[in-house]
Symmetry: C2
Subunit: 207 residues, 2 copies
């Protein structure tokens, strides 16, 4: 699909993208296919064979790059989850008394955007339905997101605080974007932020 | 399975249960089978044929009593959801400034008990994965639970308040009982109630 590092000139190069190795491109293509397959069919109904077919490669190559189906899933959702995993960095900038609003706006920003919402939805669906997917979700969310958030708080019970704050945000996302319960699904985002941000702040830094 | 109303004496009667018509018993048996099938396989993978087989009846009889698969699902989850739907009545007893704690304890009481948790989990799983199931969930939860709760509050934005309170409870249940995120999954229930009840109260009756 693209040039090898030693490869051709600008004419055959994919526009707006630096030259990459063939294997990195194949790897990316498999990851995109995996994310699509998991999004569409959920964890259980997705097969390595199906991912390989969608990526236009052999199943053996998928195993070669990623290992088991569980490992492919983890790699795919790590990519899909990347924007969310930036939350601790994004909310670290600024005073601690604004952390509730910054985190709330950050998370809703991801959910409001269909491009970032779709993979997130796929993760939630898979995690709710399958124990292996739930374990991957736990590892990623707990270790990379909530634990880092908890460290920034400096409370002894920081992790529980971060999880209760996450519970308010997760529940809101579920009812607004997944179940689409009215009036919440159509409510103005600013109205929701105004109600949710103080709760998140309270969980994170309250007494 | 049991006596018809005109039927036999105490000897053949099922203990601890009043005599019932054959059709009511069959209907119940189908409902129990439907709940089990939906719990185990989710909405999409459950078939009317599978429910009929599990109940030991013909598919035509299932359709006769309940109609379509969607209608069977609605009937099954109405039964499974019955404890939760009692929430408005349960929290109506007592002063409004204790409503957050009463609702929180009521909902966690249902989730902590494996017997009532299992069908609830099946509903959540189906609703997250299937639009038809989500619509049934919306109808039941929105109309029968949250709207009644909102009426008790007497606020003009009572429904949104009830949904934001529900979001905190739903998110907490998701992370604790479904995803099993630690330390939340193993946290003492009283500790969680102490943190969640004021939030629920704030959503419902706050400024």
């Amino acid at each position: 699909m693209s040039d090898t590092p030693a490869g051709g000139g600008a004419g055959t190069r994919r526009r707006g993208r630096p030259p990459r190795t063939e294997s990195a491109d194949t790897r990316d293509r498999i990851l995109v296919a995996a994310r699509e397959e998991f999004s569409e069919h959920g964890y259980e109904k997705t097969s390595v064979r199906g991912i390989a077919k969608a990526a236009g490669v052999d199943s053996a190559l998928v195993h070669h790059y990623f290992g088991t189906k569980e490992q492919i899933f983890e790699a795919a959702i790590a990519v899909a989850f990347a924007p969310t995993l930036n939350a601790p960095a994004a909310i670290a900038d600024g005073p601690l008394d604004g952390v509730g609003e910054r985190l709330t706006r950050f998370i809703f920003g991801i959910w409001e955007n269909p491009t970032t919402r779709k993979p997130l939805l796929a993760i939630v669906r898979s995690a709710v339905n399958n124990e292996t997917a739930a374990a991957v979700f736990r590892r990623l969310v707990a270790a990379q997101l909530l634990r880092r958030l908890a460290e920034q708080l400096g409370h002894p019970d920081g992790e529980l605080r971060a999880e209760l704050a996450a519970a308010q945000l997760v529940g809101c996302a579920m009812l607004r974007y997944v179940i689409k319960l009215e009036p919440l699904a159509s409510a103005d985002l600013e109205q929701i932020v105004a109600r949710i941000a103080p709760v998140v702040q309270g969980h994170l830094t309250g007494p």
